[in-house]
Amino acid sequence: MNAVCIDNHDSALAWQALAAVEDPEIPALSIVDLGLIRYIEPRPDGTLEIGLSPTYVGCPATEVIRRSAELALRDAGVGACVVTQVLSPAWTSDWITAEGRRKLESYGIVPPERSVANMRDVLRGDRPVACPRCQSVDTETLSQFGSTPCKALHRCRACLEPFEYFKCI
């Protein structure tokens, strides 16, 4: 019974510590906001296992996130833990939390369209993305790939400002 109490305490501590780990590319968001932490579970040997999903398979930030997470857990005084990469089910932009979407928006990045249920449609393009500055829907896609794999580059034809869109994946 005692062990379980300690585990729960450690889990809560771990969630708290990870909620403060910034995404290296979008520091406004934590890795918990992005929905990258899939689970925190004690193993039979008492080690705490943290399931971490990569956003994109080749994203260079993945290694940094893993290391920052390990450091944060250590600094928070969480006991022995191990970070495991979780590929399946694959991370989706649907897992970004409501708080995460709000932070993206106030950071000037348009949050992804909700629900990736029919990805075949994505091949033909999204619905028009509204400009985060003037709200006009008269916008165009400049590139499917922006400064990071997870963002596309758009431009508003009304206010002529470029802006980023967090891709639906």
Partner: protein, 258 residues
Amino acid sequence: MSAAMDRVEAQALFRYVLRLGDLSLILGQRLGEWVGHSPALEEDLGLANIALDLIGQARLLLTYAGEVEGRGRGEDDIAFLREHGEYLNPILAEQPNGDFGRTIVRQVLIDAFQLELYERMTASTDERLAAIAAKSVKEIRYHLRYSGGWLVRLGDGTDESHARVQSALEALWPYTVELFAEDELDRTMADSGVAPRLSDVQLAWAQRIDAILGEATLQRPRDRPHSWHGKRGQHSEHLGYMLAEMQHLQRTYPGARW
């Protein structure tokens, strides 16, 4: 280790996973050559991002290949310390970039192949491959949206751009035959449910390609008999030059790390 290991021999699975991983690795390395040389900053970013995704696929696949092989080789050993004849990518992947249009043609042909292959492989009896496929296919959709979009713009663009991509299509088309040439290894994988049947992949691929070519006002070249065997380790001269550059650091300073 995995469900598939009970059904197929480790050596066969190892070779099959290498085919997949080497396609991603070699195409990713090729696209990386565009960094700093693209026609516009947006395309530099686009091609580099696609290259990154492909290297990411290669890392997952080559790591898995090393585990299946069971000789203690990791992703880096497999990527950087093999010889020419040990790479099992179809030779379309290693064809030189040429101009931007030619790179786009090669990309459309391979993106559509990977899309149809990995969509089906999400149902693989090999859990690990199913997971890698499910992860990768989401990104590949964006790759094809990019490359397909550019092929339409270039094909249905000026006389010059149309002529260039049509001629690139004529030059690269013969290599597509190898993607679908089913050999014993492909058959073994399909029979055990590890991989989809290549004939099914080809049917879907051809429909997708025809639709894009139609919109791009390009003529689909005729299929011709081929004798390419990159999937068995027989490559064009281009791969050697690529490997010399790619492997230089690890060969010169073994074990060097960032």
